[in-house]
């Protein structure tokens, strides 16, 4: 089922493109060039396009993880490795188990079986905050801006190991004031990068949907994460902001972070991912570089087959039209007979 396991240079040709995108998308961002991208991509170039393929330098390894809700198997992943320092796109139709897999990886949900690890450390039985402290930080599909805190307070919350967050030390400002100042500077720098610095004293609840997405991402970065998991970072964001968000996601990779993201927009996925993992009905049905995915029959079936609600293509329209014409012709022969099942395509007639 997997497509041609020998990638024929398609990946190499894509490597030149992102450089141009970076410059326009993220002014004032990181200028360390796109060398890291080439590293991740080069490392992944010679891998066969097979489900569960071993990566040269995996940051996250998932083994035999299953999660069932009653009779429904939401996630059943045999083996998955996520390359360090790369952007891995996780795609699949609605209900494929992408968000559930995210929840399992970050401790928000516990699996029925299986093990998964980050940098060789098992994450099983860990609470969400413990996973986050290891440097695996996530955002949510439905943005969780803390409405009645200011934008700056939202950011400061993201900082780790704050001395003033312990009850008794909080009472002595001298203990945490210096750290707070450093965190504030860092927060303002990030806010500047995400163009939210003018909003720093506004309540987060007054931000627009796109700005909240930006804030959530910036807040996650306050913790200096190693792995960033973004659950539909572009959902409900206008095209202009999508470009800037894309730039920020690429920036994360430039800084050496491992990015895993769920997305429905295939253009976005093609643009920024180094590797794409496709899920359907809880299983991983394909992996490979973005170019390989559209050629994969299993993906086309799963992604466009059962839940296909896109407009018809020209060929499909012709096909339907031909069927309808046939049906009409047959009906004319039988002359006013009872409607049979064959005549149903008639309703597509215009």
């Amino acid at each position: 089922m997997p497509a041609d396991p020998t990638p024929h240079g398609a990946t190499a040709s894509g490597a030149g493109a992102p450089g141009a995108g970076d410059r326009s998308d993220a002014p004032g961002g990181f200028h360390s060039g796109d060398a890291p991208r080439r590293l991740a991509q080069a490392a992944l170039r010679d891998l066969p396009w097979e489900v569960g393929v071993a990566k040269p330098d995996p940051a996250v390894v998932v083994d035999g993880v299953t999660r069932t809700f009653g009779g429904l198997t939401a996630v059943s992943v045999d083996h998955l490795e996520i390359q360090r320092g790369g952007i891995t796109g996780l795609i699949g139709p609605n209900g494929a188990g992408k968000t559930t897999l995210f929840n399992l990886l970050t401790g928000f949900d516990q699996p029925d079986t299986g093990t998964w690890s980050f940098n060789g450390r098992s994450l099983g039985k860990m609470a969400p905050h413990e996973v986050a402290r290891l440097g695996v930080v996530r955002t949510f599909q439905l943005t969780k801006a803390l409405s009645r805190l200011t934008v700056l307070q939202n950011m400061l919350l993201g900082a780790q190991d704050q001395r003033g967050e312990s009850f008794f030390r909080a009472l002595v400002p001298g203990i945490w004031r210096g750290q707070e100042k450093a965190n504030t500077e860092k927060a303002m720098e990030l806010l500047h990068r995400f163009k939210l610095d003018t909003k720093k004293d506004d309540f987060a609840g007054t931000l627009s949907g796109g700005q909240r997405k930006l804030l959530e991402m910036a807040r996650a970065l306050m913790s200096d994460p190693h792995v960033v998991m973004l659950d539909e970072p572009m959902a409900g964001v206008n095209p202009a902001l999508t470009q800037s968000l894309l730039g920020h996601v690429k920036d994360l990779r430039e800084q050496g972070m491992t990015v895993i993201f769920v997305e429905h927009d295939m253009d976005v996925v093609r643009d920024i991912s180094d590797w794409v993992v496709v899920m359907a009905a809880g299983r991983i049905i394909a992996e490979g570089p973005p170019e390989s995915i559209s050629q994969n029959q299993a993906v086309v079936d799963a992604y466009l087959g059962a839940h296909h609600d896109a407009p018809l293509t020209v060929e499909e329209e012709d096909q339907v039209l031909a069927q309808a014409e046939q049906a009409i012709a047959r009906e004319e022969q039988t002359d006013g007979d009872v409607l049979s099942a064959d005549t149903r395509p008639e309703r597509t007639d215009r």
């Binding site: 928000f108 402290r133 930080v137 803390l146 805190l149 919350l157 400002p173």
Partner: protein, 332 residues
């Protein structure tokens, strides 16, 4: 005119007396739990009862000193908070609300039961446990003093002084905490627990700390009340007091340091003012006998105060100190 002044001075006395301190401390505790952390404690009165009875039982029944009684009361409140929080704080907010409301009612029934009579004095409660405390007053407690048209006994003044000092210290503590990173985490928990978890904070611990702290404030309130009345009777600790404290908090403004204190003073002032004014108007014949009589006043004053609270929520939903922008965000 003289009647109105009388009513005002009586109401002023209520707004400054130990009952205002009692509700103020209850409301400060609820403010920490509900206003800042988003925990629904509907049984704050249970913490107050443990505080009051901590002193009463320790002194009257066990013969311990007054200050040991204070410690016993505080400790009992901490234990109750832990017991209520351990099973419920990992669950949704409603479970804590159910557990606390049940605990408040259950504890009161337990304390007034026949089997508990040897310890708590049953329905008659305990008395005569505050002598050591009153004796500490630097002035003569038997004499009566008057200012601003109100008269107080020396003992009352002493309880008030200590009570308001406790309230002030409590406010300073809340202020210090809420401007610190600890307060920021706690407020974030109120907004969205999962977001806070995803940023590496142990939400459970913060919720527990807030629940315990609020419970300790409740216990302090109960102690002031017990010392002020000079007795501890289980039926004084009806759970309606919890909701009056909530009303005080919302009146003053939730998630504001002084909100609960000013709210409690104003609430008691208004209740007493409505009470006295209605009684005066009835006795003067301004309100005709046919409409309602002096015996109805106790109920009618709450109707009036309730009406006032409704008007407040319509025209000033943020309370006296609240930030309207902040409250309006809830509507989204």
């Amino acid at each position: 005119m003289g009647d109105l002044l009388d009513a005002l001075s009586v109401a002023l006395k209520a707004g400054l007396g130990f009952q205002a301190i009692f509700f103020g401390l209850l409301a400060i505790g609820i403010n920490v739990q509900f206003g800042y952390t988003g925990l629904l404690n509907f049984g704050q009165i249970a913490f107050a009862m443990l505080g009051g009875f901590g002193i009463a039982v320790s002194v009257s029944q066990w013969g311990l000193s007054f200050w040991v009684g204070v410690l016993v009361g505080l400790l009992a409140a901490v234990v109750l908070a832990l017991l209520l929080g351990l099973p419920t704080l990992r669950l949704r907010a409603d479970y804590l609300a159910i557990a606390t409301i049940a605990a408040a009612e259950g504890l009161r029934l337990l304390f007034r039961s026949v089997s508990a009579t040897p310890v708590t004095g049953g329905t008659r409660g305990l008395a005569a446990f505050n002598r050591d405390f009153i004796a500490l007053a630097p002035w003569e407690t038997g004499k009566r003093y008057s200012f601003l048209g109100t008269t107080w006994s020396g003992a009352e003044l002493w309880v008030m002084l200590v009570g308001w000092v406790v309230v002030a210290l409590g406010c300073v503590l809340v202020w210090l905490l809420m401007r610190s990173p600890w307060g920021r985490v706690v407020k974030s928990v109120r907004e969205d627990e999962d977001a806070v978890r995803a940023l590496g904070k142990n939400v459970y611990v913060y919720k527990m700390q807030a629940l315990v702290l609020g419970g300790v404030f409740g216990a302090l309130g109960g102690m002031i009340y017990a010392v002020g009345t000079g007795s501890a009777i289980p039926d004084q600790y009806q759970n309606a007091n919890t909701f009056l404290a909530y009303a005080a908090l919302i009146l003053g403004g939730a998630a504001r340091v002084l909100g609960p204190v000013i709210g409690a003073m104003l609430l008691l002032f208004l209740i007493q003012f409505a009470d006295t004014l209605l009684r005066t108007l009835i006795s003067n014949g301004v309100i005709p006998e046919g409409l309602f009589t002096a015996t109805d006043v106790a109920a009618i004053r709450f109707v009036l105060v309730g009406l006032g609270l409704m008007l407040l929520l319509v025209f000033r939903p943020q309370g006296i100190f609240g930030d309207r922008r902040e409250v309006m965000l809830d509507a989204r």
